[in-house]
């Protein structure tokens, strides 16, 4: 079943040197699955995520044939109507928890606010909800954490709190924009498994934006590989190591592997034809 259907999505930034195209005609669908978007920095991964929520700052322009959420085209919604979509139906976890929590509000206040933005509930119900949500992301002492300020939290805790905050209005789609890249490896796995359990339990769709190919191969169902604003290849995550596109092969070969050690790692040689080639559709 298709939750989100994106067709021919463009993000453009007019500048003095002409129009810069960050995302160039990307199409994909998302069901109740874990979809990964990978690519090097500047390939338009994050922009794609933000464009779905129409949170591109002016002067950026988003155009698309359609961005449909369960059949309703989001492109035709007004800003006010989009506010009901953001958070409640599509949510996003950002890269660095240190900067994505308001430093002068307690964590409790922020989670409760996130809940009450979309649910008419009194404070005590919201408080209970927030507590159980913190428990769901395996925060050990939720009562204390509710009273704490963001700077008192470690990075991993902060990211779990962000996830709790983004999932408390129970959205149908979660966009995770490199949620683990600011965390160290052992915490990464923990945060990922929490995302995994929550997403599977609630039957949500997940768009996982990352540059870590191995992580994505383990964690996701389907992978879109982006290069300079276009999708160059779509494949199942378990077949990622058999990918055919030279860019994907290049990315894979530039990573050291324990089971196949090499003296020298490959360096990506970019073919201008890659960015000229039309975008591959990720629609099912």
């Amino acid at each position: 079943m298709t939750l989100l259907d994106v067709e021919n999505l463009w993000v453009k930034f007019p500048s003095r040197q002409g129009v810069f195209e960050a995302v160039r005609g990307v199409s994909f669908t998302l069901g109740r699955e874990r979809l990964a978007i990978v690519g090097e920095s500047g390939s338009g991964k994050s922009m794609t995520g933000r464009a779905i929520l129409q949170l591109i700052r002016p002067p950026g322009i988003v155009t698309a044939d359609q961005v449909s959420l369960e059949g309703v085209n989001l492109m035709q919604k007004t800003e006010r109507e989009m506010r009901d979509v953001r958070g409640k139906r599509v949510s996003m976890v950002m890269q660095d928890p240190k900067f994505s929590l308001n430093p002068v509000m307690t964590i409790g206040q922020q989670i409760i606010e996130a809940y009450r933005l979309h649910n008419k509930a009194n404070k005590s119900i919201a408080y209970e909800k927030a507590l159980s949500m913190l428990e769901a992301v395996s925060i050990r002492d939720p009562k204390r954490v509710m009273r704490a300020y963001p700077h008192e939290m470690s990075g991993g805790m902060g990211q779990r709190i962000m996830i709790a905050m983004m999932l408390i209005p129970s959205p149908e789609i979660l966009i995770a924009d490199e949620p683990t890249s600011a965390l160290d490896v052992s915490v990464q796995r923990q945060v990922l498994s929490i995302i995994d359990t929550l997403v599977t339990d609630r039957g949500m769709g997940l768009i996982f934006i990352s540059h870590d190919l191995n992580l994505v191969a383990d964690f996701c169902d389907r992978v879109l590989i982006m290069y300079s604003g276009r999708i160059v290849e779509v494949c199942d995550a378990k077949n990622l190591h058999e990918a055919k596109h030279p860019y994907t092969r290049g990315l894979l070969n530039s990573l050291p592997r324990l089971n196949a050690p090499r003296k020298k790692l490959d360096v990506l040689s970019r073919d201008p034809a890659w960015s000229e080639a039309p975008s591959v559709s990720g629609r099912v």
Binding site: L53, L55, P58, R80, M82, R83, D84, V85, R86, G87, K88, S91, M92, M94, Q95, D96, F99, S100, L101, N102, P103, V104, M105, E113, A114, L117, H118, M162, M165, M166, P169
Partner: protein
């Protein structure tokens, strides 16, 4: 030093509150036979003015007027500035341009001259003086608030709350205001001295508090005619203005050290 300022101000508030108990005489009672008594004369520690009114009593009651003006201006100006500045900074575009150019127009005039013009237009009196001073005092607050807003609005946690579906109103009032307030508080305390001087200046020019009200600026103005022979009639309220302004400046300095996170790391 900041503590000295704070104590002076606490003392001022206590004097203003307990004025009827502390004042030895009625500040309005004239006694023409006893006019222009020097300092330390019998029954009048600070002497009397040209109509034989006790200067100490007038000074004590005058503290109420000073606090009233400073208090009201310190409420009106920063709130107006905060509102204008955060809206301009957050919304941006044309709103920003229009609001900031209006701010610039107000900033282009010297404060006292603009206040004079407003009082002349509105009519003399304490309320109008408060209004006039507030009208001239808000633009710097608007600028500070806008500058703060510009840095805050591009931060990740504002994006985070945006993508949870919060509207502009909610973001401005709940997420931007609390972060602007500390810098505004410092500015307010540093501004208070200026506000007192502006109020006293208006009183001196006869455009603030009207006689017989014991406003300090007006008292100086009355004492001016006798300044060579009876200097204390002008000097006593002058000292009061000086002390209170200094106290506010000391406190403002101290508060800045406390509230500015960049300095506190030393």
């Amino acid at each position: 030093m900041a503590m000295i300022g704070l104590w002076i101000l606490i003392l001022l508030v206590m004097i203003a509150v307990g004025a009827p108990l502390l004042a030895p005489h009625d500040p309005f009672a004239q006694e023409l036979g006893n006019r222009l008594q020097p300092l330390w004369s019998e029954g009048h520690i600070l002497g009397t003015d040209s109509l034989g009114r006790d200067l100490l009593s007038r000074l004590i009651y005058g503290s109420r007027i000073t606090l009233y003006i400073v208090g009201l201006v310190a409420l009106i100006a920063p709130i107006t500035g905060l509102l204008v500045g955060t809206v301009a900074g957050y919304v941006g575009g044309w709103t920003d341009q229009v609001l900031m150019r209006i701010t610039d127009i107000f900033l282009a005039f010297p404060r006292l001259v603009l206040a004079l013009a407003f009082v002349a237009a509105l009519g003399a009196g304490i309320e109008n003086a408060v209004l006039a001073i507030s009208l001239t005092a808000w633009p710097p607050y608007a600028r500070i608030a806008r500058a703060e807003t510009l840095t805050i609005r591009s931060s990740d946690y504002i994006s985070a709350i945006q993508l949870q579906g919060a509207g502009a109103m909610r973001i401005i009032t709940k997420h931007i205001w609390p972060l602007c307030i500390s810098s505004l508080i410092v500015r307010v305390t540093l501004d208070m001295a200026g506000i007192i001087l502006a109020a006293a200046g208006l009183g001196f020019l006869g455009l603030g508090a009207q006689p017989p009200s014991p406003e300090w600026g007006a008292m100086i103005s009355e004492g001016r005619q006798f300044i060579l022979d009876h200097w204390w009639v002008a000097a006593v309220p002058g000292m009061a203005i000086f002390t209170v302004s200094l106290a506010f400046n000391l406190l403002g300095d101290g508060l800045r050290d406390v509230l500015d996170p960049k300095d506190s790391e030393k």
